[in-house]
């Protein structure tokens, strides 16, 4: 029993040619652009949060390769089950930025227009793993040729639902790809205190399927391994767990102060391994990228982000939706309670205008 390690593109932008996936310019540029867009989306969210225009927000700074590499390995018809830090996947999967902002500004109405096969954010850690296994299982039962991809952190591997989900996937050989974003921390708890297991990938052995550990800051490795795992899944080969070894460069969320539990030097070390920087060097070496294209792209993305924020901030949540989406049909007591609230609101309005 053992687990492998894979990396293709190192921190200096050097590539292992024997493993290099054959991707055309357009695709590589799309990887790069989406990673930068994710970072700028994130950055804007942090600023909005500091100005009180958003909820608590968990940035994915430093984890863009894991998100984008895996997302582009999926097909639109594959299921996607996020935790709460999968902004890059959501963006790559085509969920409009404005909807992401509406959600993090505090409204479920963001999901009114969720594109198919994308599940909403799951806040309780690891609970979404079971849904992903169930969706994959359903696909298998229905003989659909699709897979299901679920994301979770290093911390999530300690929860019972992780275990139960992995075990069901192993027993029923569901077409599920488990992507563990091992960003080295669960809030303040370092990975070594989360479990005494040497790697997280080896946990898959307890469920009778393959686990692999890869450089999560290497978008080419993430893409290649996810692609292989998805093909295996779709062709009846069962599940795979991919441990993406990466780092959360920012605080856990905007409420967190990471200086309490980790050293600046550690963060500096990881800065050198930045996933975006190494992809840019790779593109430049291939003659696909230069500063002027970079400048043009940054300007374009800046506008895109600003436009999305404006759209999001102009959205007015609908009070009735609080009652409308509890059941398919509103039962009597909810009708009464909605009337009660509307009575209160219109009375107040009357008071205010009167």
């Amino acid at each position: 029993m053992s687990v492998d390690w894979l990396s293709i593109l190192d921190a200096e932008g050097n590539v292992d040619e024997s493993l290099e996936p054959k991707l055309d310019t357009e695709t590589l540029e799309k990887f790069y652009r989406t990673m930068v867009l994710t970072r700028m989306y994130d950055d804007k969210a942090l600023k909005l949060q500091r100005q009180g225009r958003m909820l608590t927000f968990g940035s994915s700074l430093g984890q863009e390769a894991t998100a984008v590499g895996s997302a582009f390995a999926m097909k639109p018809d594959d299921w996607f089950f996020p935790a709460f830090r999968e902004h890059g996947v959501q963006i790559a999967r085509g969920i409009p930025l404005s909807l992401l902002y509406i959600y993090w500004m505090g409204s479920e109405d963001a999901n009114l227009k969720l594109p198919p096969k994308n599940f909403p954010v799951a806040i309780p850690v690891s609970t979404q793993i079971l849904h992903a296994v169930g969706a994959a299982w359903a696909a298998k039962i229905k003989k659909q040729n699709i897979a299901s991809v679920v994301y979770f952190g290093d911390g999530a591997t300690s929860e019972g639902d992780f275990h139960e989900g992995m075990n069901f996937a192993g027993v029923f050989k569901t077409p599920t790809v488990f992507i563990c974003q091992n960003n080295q921390y669960a809030i303040s708890l370092p990975r070594e205190k989360q479990t005494a297991s040497k790697t997280l990938a080896q946990k898959a052995l307890a469920y009778g399927f393959e686990g692999i550990q890869i450089d999560g800051n290497d978008v080419l490795a993430v893409y290649s391994v996810t692609l292989t795992a998805l093909e295996k899944a779709r062709s009846g080969g069962g599940p795979t767990m991919i441990e993406c070894f990466t780092y959360r460069m920012g605080p856990h969320t905007t409420s967190d102060d990471p200086t309490k539990y980790r050293k600046a030097a550690e963060v500096e070390e990881w800065k050198k391994k930045d996933p975006i920087k190494r992809l840019r060097i790779y593109l430049e070496k291939k003659g696909m990228w230069d500063q002027s294209r970079e400048d043009a792209m940054i300007k374009e993305i800046t506008d895109e982000v600003e436009k999305a924020v404006k759209e999001a901030e102009s959205y007015k949540p609908v009070v009735e939706n609080m009652f409308k989406y509890v059941y398919a049909d509103k039962p009597l007591h909810l009708k009464e309670q909605m009337d009660e609230l509307q009575g209160f609101i219109s009375k107040r309005r009357g008071n205010e205008s009167g």
Binding site: L112, P124, V133, W137, A138, D161
Partner: protein
Amino acid sequence: MSLAKLNMVQAINLALFEEMEKDPTVLVMGEDVGVDGGVFRVTEGLLSKFGSDRVIDTPLAESGIVGTAIGMAVSGLKPVAEIQFEGFSYMTIDQLAAHASRIRYRSRGTYHCPLVVRAPYGGGVKALEHHSEAVATFYIHIPGLKVVIPSTPYDAKGLLISSIRDPDPVMFFEPKKLYRAFKEEVPEGEYTVPLGVGKKITEGEDLTLIAWGAMVRVCQEAMEQVKDLNVELIDLRTLSPLDDKVIIDSVKKTGRVVIVHEEPRTLGFGAEIIARINEKALLSLEAPVKRVTGFDVPMPLPKLEDYYLPNAAKVADAIKEVAAF
């Protein structure tokens, strides 16, 4: 439509059988539901008819069963998940409260969760610890779930069919005390009993007696002991969402109420019924509503369970007390 005399186990089995035959998206999953046919034989015969993709023996993991069933439900299947005994349903509360009940809400209708969770519940069968509890409160209090408890074979079949067809998650608790207690005529083929509608079992002017599940039988026995009174017996059948109307109309007529349930008294469903009566018919009350319930102690092992559970004598006493108030 042919009729057969069936007990509740058979009626539930028939409902599953017919719905699975009619709708290829319906499937059954849980511990020992396949090869073994379920520890109460409720799913017997389904595996050989529908195969192991639709009658699934799962590993021993309740959160896993419900959580994966949620994933199936959002992908267009209609899983009927069995939790082997009510006392192991606590392990499913997180998946139900955090997910099944909120998927429609959180996704604003993009997804919904047509899941049924079946579990036997309740005492009176001299079972092991955690095999005799009544646990409805936990699920009634979760907005977005429905909670259904049948008291007869006929209703069991009709309510289960409605539950399977319901687009939202339904907890379907089966009074194991009544699984084989009696038979009644149950039609073969399609019929439904609607969710959210209580049933008046008897009409009466003197007192309203409210129960569900196994306690309906206990109430019927009790009524034998107070034949001089005209008791209106209501079987709620669906606890969530509650059919206030059948209760309120009755209370307005009788002014006197006894509620019977197995659950511990504090925050058992009787409390909510009293609150609704208070809100909608307080002025009709001629006596305090009386609760005959399990005590606020853990369900005891069988040697003491008869002391714990409501029985006909206790209910009869309560009826007399309230009538005489």
